[in-house]
Subunit: 279 residues, 2 copies
């Protein structure tokens, strides 16, 4: 099977690492950034770097791992050119706008809208990890609009990486992810901002930072370009999630300010229930 | 050396584990909660469980690892009864009110106000870990008010656990910790609340939670009693930190809502600087 991966960053590069190790699979890379292209070659992530046109020409499967603002334009252009035995998989972190951009496309059946829930705070080809997806969940949206043969092939690919696929609508996806992923990123980015603003002396932060702070602020190291595109494409749901988060923070602040330890404690007891969900 | 540890939870229990392994050290425990007492005995954390009165009678060093709201009342009571060759170390996470509660005490010189920056989201004697403090920082406040011999003994104890001591005023301590530790905890607790409120279906959270969410929400599993006391004792600084955090979240939300990707991105680029501090 010939697979081309467009975008060899953290996610695309990790797909490349896992796929190229499989018998009978040849992985090609499409990468526009000169520096990333060099890194991908040096790291041996793919058999060859080729153009998007060549990838469309020769691949059985085209996997897209570029920022979500690019996907919206790129997917219809690729679908325009593919044959009925090829398939296109996108791995973007938002799904509503992407799915509507191809909703009425004549080749919609050859497209799989997926989102593997895995990653780190690092980015670029050097961040690519073997086994990143092992045991992780993969969300597939609007699979009823994908041809059965294309879906089956995509599922085999996901399974070969250790991903367990779960099916949902694109709007469900974007709403859930606003809370369970995008909000965490904003909370972490802004925690980093707040602390950097007040603690101008970086040495002091280093002295005082415990493992608790390090884990809460870890996502503030994530790639701004990747995440500004995600936040922008999911701004309605994320804005609602932020409203609710800010409201809880304000309630908690009022409880502390008024010395109402019971109110603060009962909110924390409730929050403790996250233990049941994430043991 | 005879050391008594009052409170055998995560911090006190971890001190016990590391100290009792040292040649010539006998560790006694004082623990009011029946269930924790049983657990501490079963785990062999201490040589013996004794009363506070006996601990004051027989110990060279008394280490206090109970919630900060109790420390304020307990420390003066213990200082009332100790001899001039004994010392009392507290390990609480806030320092201003504790230090003022003993400021004019005739035995102030026998007291060391310390805060080892280590912990996990777990609590109680079963959370106690060998080596928890290895390579971590320990903040000591108002050390100029401690007798030199008492300070030297305390430093030897901290060093034996792998702690590096740093000296600062109690008010500096509380201000910095509001940002670098207490704010992280509130941000995590309220992130847990927000997500639990919207995602009533716990199975769905489990399906959708990535490692990013897990790390950001980890501190929401922390002990509500311990933390409500800390937040209450540091409410002025924490309230200020929360104001600033909420303000940044609101600014970020406005950037997203108005589609101002540049503004959102430049805040994230700034937040990325946390990489330099916590590589």
């Amino acid at each position: 099977m010939k697979i081309s991966i467009v975008g060899l960053g953290l996610i695309g590069g990790s797909f490349a690492r896992d796929l190229k190790s499989q018998i009978g699979v040849t992985v090609y890379g499409v990468e526009n950034h000169e520096f990333h292209r060099q890194q991908a070659i040096e790291l041996g992530l793919v058999a060859n770097i080729i153009t998007l046109e060549d990838a469309i020409e020769i691949s059985d499967v085209i996997i897209l791992a570029v920022p979500v603002d690019i996907l919206e334009y790129l997917i219809p252009q690729i679908l325009d050119k593919i044959q009925n035995n090829q398939l296109v998989i996108d791995l973007g972190s938002t799904k509503e706008l992407i799915c509507s951009s191809v909703e009425t496309h004549p080749n919609r059946g050859r497209f799989i809208a997926a989102h593997p829930l895995a990653g780190t705070e690092f980015s670029g080809p050097t961040a690519a990890l073997r086994g990143l997806f092992m045991g992780k969940k993969n969300l597939i949206c609007e699979s009823e609009k994908t041809d059965n043969d294309a879906l089956q092939t995509a599922l085999v690919i996901f399974e070969s990486l250790g991903l367990e696929s779960i099916f949902m609508s694109a709007s469900e996806h974007d709403k859930h992810l606003a809370y369970v992923s995008h909000l965490s990123h904003v909370s972490s980015f802004m925690l980093g901002m707040t602390v950097l603003e007040i603690e101008k002396d970086e040495k002091q932060i280093l002295n005082l930072a415990s493992t608790g702070f390090a884990s809460t602020v870890r996502l503030a190291k994530s790639n701004p370009k990747t995440w500004s595109a995600i936040f922008d494409k999911n701004n309605k749901h994320l804005s609602r999630a932020l409203d609710e988060y800010i409201l809880w923070l304000q309630r908690f602040k009022e409880a502390i300010e008024s010395g109402d330890k019971n109110a603060a404690e009962s909110m924390m007891i409730k929050a403790n229930e996250i233990k049941k969900v994430l043991p």
